[in-house]
């Protein structure tokens, strides 16, 4: 049990909570990378996938991109971007954004395409324009899946932002790579626990957000979508195999 007590000592050492390399600052850096990457990915992926879903174009790519994304090795992507673009935060961001886009695209596209044809036709029959159908009918109905996609991406980004520290940047990965280099297993394990906790918090917090903003009438669908998000896992596809 000595390891556990040393780990506890690491967590309770006031020095580890102070200054620019303390736990609060590292956590804040990690959150900043993650929020920035997820937002940029959403800004790129949402308009494209809403357009594709609304018009029904590009389905083959939109549905399969999440599967392709799953096969992309994140470590290779980040190091490759670093070699091409040099040592700054841009390669890290590019890699994180690239990994975050596929789940958003696939889930959003499937969410919009899954809107009942009759519902869409009824909206058209009531005289709604294409824009109105998209914003007032399709997006609200697809919201559970859109949120599931964003959640999958966000959790994946939080996980992968750890690698920023491999390129000498900050974030919670610092503790991992410094601990690894120094064979300091308390620091290593402490960092790993913090990253695991941040991922789980992200997952549950976004699940709460989803529960709050999804229209009540869709609550039941929402439950199904939550299961889908789980099933789709890291690089999620909403309508995976099952």
């Amino acid at each position: 049990m000595t390891f556990l007590s040393e780990l506890l000592a690491w967590f309770t050492d006031p020095l580890n909570w102070q200054g620019t390399s303390g736990i609060p600052i590292r956590t804040w850096e990690h959150i900043q990378y993650s929020v920035a990457a997820t937002l940029i990915a959403a800004l790129i992926a949402l308009p494209i996938s809403l357009y594709l879903g609304h018009t029904g174009r590009g389905g083959l790519l939109a549905i399969n991109i999440a599967n392709i994304g799953r096969a992309i090795p994140s470590l290779g992507l980040i190091i490759m971007a670093f070699i091409l673009l040099g040592l700054n935060i841009v390669p890290v961001m590019i890699a994180l954004v690239a990994l975050a886009i596929p789940p958003i695209v696939t889930n959003t596209y499937i969410g919009i395409r899954n809107v009942n044809r009759e519902v869409r036709d009824a909206a058209g029959g009531m005289g709604m324009t294409g824009w109105q159908i998209l914003t007032r009918v399709e997006i609200p109905v697809a919201l559970p899946l859109i949120m599931a996609g964003l959640r999958t991406s966000a959790v994946q980004v939080v996980a992968t932002a750890t690698l920023a520290a491999y390129l000498s940047f900050g974030g919670l990965g610092r503790f991992l790579f410094d601990g690894l280099a120094l064979q300091d297993y308390e620091q290593l394990t402490g960092g790993a626990l913090l990253i695991a906790a941040l991922s789980l918090i992200t997952e549950f917090a976004l699940a709460r957000v989803q529960a709050v903003i999804v229209p009540k009438g869709l609550a039941k669908r929402n439950a199904t979508a939550a299961v889908d998000a789980k099933m789709s896992g890291r690089a999620g596809v909403a309508s995976s195999g099952a």
Partner: protein, 213 residues
Amino acid sequence: MDWGWVQDHLDEIQSLFFQHAQFTLLALVYGFAIAFPLALAATRWPRLYTPILGLTGILFTIPSIALFMLMMPFTGPTATTCLIALTIYTLLVLVRNTVEGLRGVPREVREAAEAMGYRRFKQLFRVELPIALPVIIAGIRIAVVTTIGLVTITALIGFGGLGALFIDGFRQAFGTPIIVGFTLSVLFAVVADVALVGAQRMLTPWARGAGGR
């Protein structure tokens, strides 16, 4: 892209690929050995399903890098560390798809099998599992592709299969090994995925016409 480097390192690339394939295969075999009984239990006693899914789901949400590192104080930078973590990541998909597949067996089919006098185990293996196979294989496909990607992360603790080439390239600030590792790793995933689709078509000839998923 420096083809001379590729020529000089063919042996190394080959052995890294074998390590990659070995890790993937072992993780899948161990994963299935754990997931299959869990899935049968969850099908037999539905109450177990939510806790099993919840637990494997939480394990799945823990970032792979963090999980590898969490094992380090106990098993050190060894292949065991890699395999335990890789196996854990296959569980969620395998359990879920096996349970969903078995649950999807139509009630009439089950009743017909019972009426024909099938015993529980024989019914499971002769009737229910074959019908559930497309969904189970869909799960295996996701697990295989995910695992092939995750193996590269183990490069951080000295393994990595083709991912070791990323670290090589990083240390020398040299792009070729990274491109080679990246391309082969993605290619491996795609080929494995296509091979599994082929295996499914062979194993479930009856599902072909119906566009078996």
